[in-house]
Subunit: 64 residues, 2 copies
DNA sequence: ACTAAAAGTAAAATAAACTTGACTTTAACT
DNA sequence: AGTTAAAGTCAAGTTTATTTTACTTTTAGT
């Protein structure tokens, strides 16, 4: 699962810590997701989509 | 998190077991998701979206 | 070069998703 | 009424997401 979080953060001028705070998760969770260590839960993906006003598919891309 | 799996199954004439098989999860997982016991993982949500040719948002709805 | 903020990483613990196996209930059919 | 497929449920176990704490590395500024 790839994602555009890093770019979206840059566009919105947010640090990992700030994004984490907005999404109510830990900074390490954001880092791990950006680094591809694991996938976010569906609720977290929805929160990110809502925050950036994008669809989940715009942010996260399946790689099958 | 609500979802339209039951209706989509009906539209496609699939049992929980058949849907489970198509998505490579157990029948109990489909049942639990339909019953709202837990949310699917993001990868599973993507698989369902691909199968039904819908967006994740079309199948699963956040309730915040 | 020094500093500070940000990012990266890792281990241990908890929570949530998912499996397996087994059993009960519901719906439909004959 | 008896049978069967599908749906519902539950407990115990495994895997994956997430937290917390803590430390290291990178980046940018002075």
């Amino acid at each position: 699962m790839k994602n555009r979080l890093k770019v979206l953060r840059a566009e919105h001028d947010l640090t990992q810590a700030q994004l984490a705070e907005r999404l109510n998760v830990s900074r390490q969770t954001i880092n791990a997701i950006e680094k591809g260590k694991f996938d976010p839960s569906l609720p977290l993906a929805f929160k990110a989509a809502r925050l950036f006003k994008l669809s989940i598919e715009d942010i996260f891309q399946d790689e099958e």
